[in-house]
Amino acid sequence: MALLIVKDLQAYYRTEIYGISRTVRAVDGVSLELQPNEIYGVAGESSCGKTTLIKVISGSIKNPLKVIGGSVNYQFGPYNVDILNVKQDEMRRNVRWKEISYVMQGSMSVLNPVRQIVKTFEDIVDTHQGIPDHKVFLQQTREHLDRLGLPPDVLNAYPHQLSGGMRQRVAIALATIFNPKLIIADEPTTALDVVVQRGVLQMLKEIQDVSGNTVLLVTHDMAVHANVADRVMIMYAGRIVEEAKTEIIFTAPLHPYTQHLIRSLPAIGDRTGKASLKGTPPNLANPPSGCRFHPRCPLAKDICHTDEPAMIQYGGGHRAACHMIKEETR
């Protein structure tokens, strides 16, 4: 039973200023399923719609973002939630932070700089569950930190007194306090150094291992996916171009964009020339016709300019959308 089913989701930003309307098609026809107990990686360059996708599946849809079509359904045990139609009150009481939580990119801007960490824990627990007994709350919070291997004295610290890695681990501790079924981690380690990044991702993986929840890990760093994710999905210009098990994505990628992403990764011990993709990321207010990757694609043919490639299954959960694969493999 899938934890989350997203079907043909279209989420656009629509703005109208002085009578000029503009539509940015940030997520355009995305379908995916998240299984319980897995780490699902989402990769893609900035402005490919990763963050918009997260906004919709976490139920934070605010103007000018509008869901034009598709559905987003969660199945938390017997409890079914249609995120596009759920009442905000129910969302806050039962879903947000209890079932779906969110680890954001810059932990410095997540934690209030003038409040001790314990106060932030208090805010979150109070909002979603209520604190009838403060002593019990403190006891539980300490136990939670202890399970994650964080020293209890971070509770009394202010954010600026902690190092970047510690702050990010506190942000993960905050996100996991109710043991949610889904943890959405949006670029959790992008601003961190390699050693700290490794420590933070290890902690996330350990939590996932112990509690068996699902982690949606969004990052543009393919090397992180290679080491952490179970499955990887590649987004380009608001669409899914390829999805497969991590092993397969890295050893037998089918889509030219994925192939480029993997080939261009630098590694210690490898000094062969690494090319970068020509051209610029497409403007989603006016995306290219046909396959959205065609202006930058080394394999592009006439059909790519006119026809949108269909998503095709290649067995073992491997799917990709590209006209050129058909010719090569069939």
């Binding site: 190092s163 390699v194 290679a226 080491n227 630098p266 011990g269 993709l277 610029t280």
Partner: protein, 327 residues
Amino acid sequence: MSYTGKLLDVQHVSVLFSIGGIIGGSQLVAVNDISFSLDNAHPEIFTIAGESGSGKTTLSRLLLRDLDPTTGKVFFEGIDLAKVKKGKDFKDFMRQVQPVFQNPFETFNPLRRVEDYLFDTAINFGIAANHKAAEPIVDDALRLVGLSLDEVRTRYPHELSGGQIQRVSVARALIPQPRLILADEPVSMVDASLRMEIVNLFKKLRDEQKVSVLYITHDLATAYYISDRISIMLRGFVVEAGPVDEVLGRPLHPYTQLLKESVPSPMPVHRESWAAHIDLGTTEVKEYGNIGCKFAGRCPKVMDICRKADPPDVEAQGRTVKCYLYS
């Protein structure tokens, strides 16, 4: 006649910052007795790598003359930089050492066209007398980075992609025809897919324009890819320095070993070993305060002596390493 010795010669430089008040305050040695030099005749890419809070940026501010060393001397083409304060000398120095900063969207004013920066640089450094004369110079610089004036003209920063605008900052740095480009984390804000574009550009500048590049980064994978020599910094000290093949290929210092091991491999083949548990350091200030080797608190091979005095610089296997294990 040009000076033929060292392009840049940093001799035993230290920078001290005071924390807290005069009474009861403490001192933080952000850069601790660092020496290195760049050769004048052979342009190279020299990397300074380390985690945040290792003193990399302090060192770059020092080389840009934004900060004076507390002790030690920096020579640029044989001239003591402590004597280069203002006026023509300083301008001349600025012309030869050009910076490229981390976040291109912060470097450029969002309300100003990017070309204005290029023309300003050309005119202020006396490369061109007026706007019209500057045009071919600006265009040439942009062509070196794979752009052209026509592509950039009348554009504002938000109209260019992250990779493009970072290339414009490199083009701007090239206009005064510098001898040295100081790039402080130039790719950390750029998307992974566009990163190689900037990194390849530095390679091209070294090979074709004979410009030396001081590449300051925490990304060891790109550092290995482009640099000739590398210095690994930890809490103000250089713990290991030498040719990049030696230092990153066969690291000796336990800290370099940890760093190399922590770089996620771009293939899912080392998942198990990468997931081996590591201890993270406490806050930066605490490690700065350690007596002896700053890494002692996290080092798997720590000995008693490591906590007593600073380790010596040891010449071993083609590089310098600051560790008691090799003395």
